[in-house]
């Protein structure tokens, strides 16, 4: 899940990555907070980030890689400037959520997990956003939206695409 506002990621920096590990090193079970912060700062967790974490925490690369790949939030590739999550949970299904999920893929021309060719939007599926009394729900860059029909989705996406990157 993207908790940051769009377009605020920094380029890779070994020093920065080490500093992030350093800040959390003494916390019990520090790996998850470290991975979250690496992704918050750099936008994704690339192989050299895995190398740094493994070396600094004295873990095997396989251990770190295994954790990174287990959790859907952690990405190996940079996301688009905005990330749109479409809920596919049962509550949203009862209100046409599957129709919306299909529409979202057609409208953006990408499957779930994909990023539009102009780099504007990454589309993701999610199973429940906790907005089940206002279904169907989507989340755009960490902001929840309720009662989103196809036209509403188009308006939200158009607003994203027309904003300057």
């Amino acid at each position: 899940m993207v908790s940051k506002t769009r377009g605020s990621y920094v380029p890779w920096s070994q020093e920065r990555a080490v500093a992030i590990v350093e800040r959390h090193r003494t916390e019990p079970g520090a790996l998850m907070p470290i991975l979250h912060e690496l992704q918050d700062v750099f936008g994704h967790i690339e192989p050299r980030a895995v190398d740094v974490v493994a070396a600094e925490l004295n873990l095997s690369k396989a251990d770190v890689y295994g954790v990174v790949t287990f959790y859907k939030d952690f990405r190996a590739e940079p996301p688009g400037r905005s990330t749109v999550h479409v809920c596919r949970g049962e509550a949203c299904q009862s209100m046409g959520g599957e129709r919306l999920a299909r529409h979202a893929r057609e409208r953006l021309g990408v499957d779930f997990g994909g990023t539009t060719s102009d780099g504007a939007v990454t589309l993701e599926q999610v199973f429940c956003l906790g907005n089940c009394a206002l279904s169907p729900a989507v989340m755009i860059d960490g902001r929840l939206k309720g009662r989103v029909d196809e036209a509403g989705f188009d308006n939200l996406v158009t607003a994203l695409k027309t904003e300057a990157p």
Binding site: M32, Y71, H85, E90, S94, V126, C132
Partner: protein
Amino acid sequence: MEPVVVFVPLDAAARSVGSDDVANAIVRESVARQRDVRLVRNGSRGMFWLEPLVEVSTPEGRVAYGPVQAEEVGELLDAGMLEAAPHRLCLGRTEEIPHLRSQTRFTFSRVGVNDPLSMADYEATGGLSGLRRVLEMSPQEIVSTVTDSGLRGRGGAGFPTGIKWQTVLDMDSDLKFIACNADEGDSGTFADRMLMEGDPFLVVEGMAIAGLAVGANEGYIYIRSEYPDAVATMAAAIDIANLNGWIGPSVLGTDHSFNLHLRVGAGSYICGEETAMLESLEGRRGVIRAKPPLPAIAGLFGKPTVVNNVLTLATVPPIFANGAESFRELGVGRSRGTQVFQLAGNIRNGGIVETAFGVTLGELVEDYGGGTLSGRPVRAVQVGGPLGAYLPTSRFGLPMDYEAFSAAGAMVGHGGIVVFDDTVDMSRQARFAMEFCAEESCGKCTPCRVGAVRGVEVIDRIIAGDNREANLALLADLCDTMADGSLCAMGGLTPLPVRSALAHFPEDFERAGVVLL
């Protein structure tokens, strides 16, 4: 003249339908009219069809308007909203709205009422009185009070909280933990989110009490990443509680310490399973653990750990503030107290209904919920999340009671109810249950990891009318294998929605095939 106090929810669901725009419009339009307004961003009252719900404070209590759109704010102000004047959007006194008035808000007493991060509001409405009372009690007295209250885990399993706490109390260990499970991943549930956003100090207080009860000085709250607003509010509440000595090295000035840490999940449903959550907290893949040992014996970092859901811990402070009897006298059978039911999906009046156990499914869906939003007949409801049973309206007489639901082949779970109208295809819902399990399985048990994938394939063949009888028998066998051969509820309960869909809606598994033939 005193400013008029106006409340506009900051709850994520209220924001999702425009409450921020309404709040901004109220500030802008009241300034334009030279009116002195104090805006409070409260939690949500949980009547989501009325959101954004604006409340105006009057000497006679708060008066509600809703649902309000930003462009209607100017008109409302001109019509005298700040004087609580009548208007087509005026709902009268908030407390008198029938949907709210008939509820028993035991756990949710402050949600939607207070500014969630106001310490003064919290204490003025009975906050900390539970913790203060507990500080005068022995650990055994605290645990016994929880046992006497009849409180059972609100996360879904319904295990008696006092017994869990007793196990941890009885363990001899220098280090024990309280782990709050705020990984509310089930579709149809949002009560944990609302509580964390609307009354976060209550979670902090509940965890501190649990720590004092069992002798744990360290607490972790694990919140799913899909809830950024709840993460932000809980983080702020923990900071405030630390800075003011409610928790930390000296709990309310005593020599008890309680250090509370917030952790954020990363998009894994299975981390709502308690042992997978512990693995995740320890920095590993969210793969579940075999039990025994129970987390109460060997939990986080191998130490005795109380793992409780948000609502369970949040129900503890009012039990101490009001007495165990005040909770125990509510409810039916072995289901004591209130449950925060969540009405979701295709429902006219969706949201929170906190009321005593024993209310029937039909009363919740039809009376509180008002039937479907689409206006079509209700066909099925799923109770207890993606691993809960689908029930037809002929079961609407069932009382919300752990044992009654279990006897009916269903589960109350966390009290989330998702409503479907008559356009639903139950064979698709059964297929989705398997698809979801395949997507979210941690992979440890073969019946779950592989069985869910095979389940999707078998249901596809049934839907296609391909050798139906043999495939139905295969599906029944597969469900047995998953239910009996999985270590946790993910694989173990996925058969519940599948079997219940088959049992109650067999016609949906025949229809498609007939068309194909």
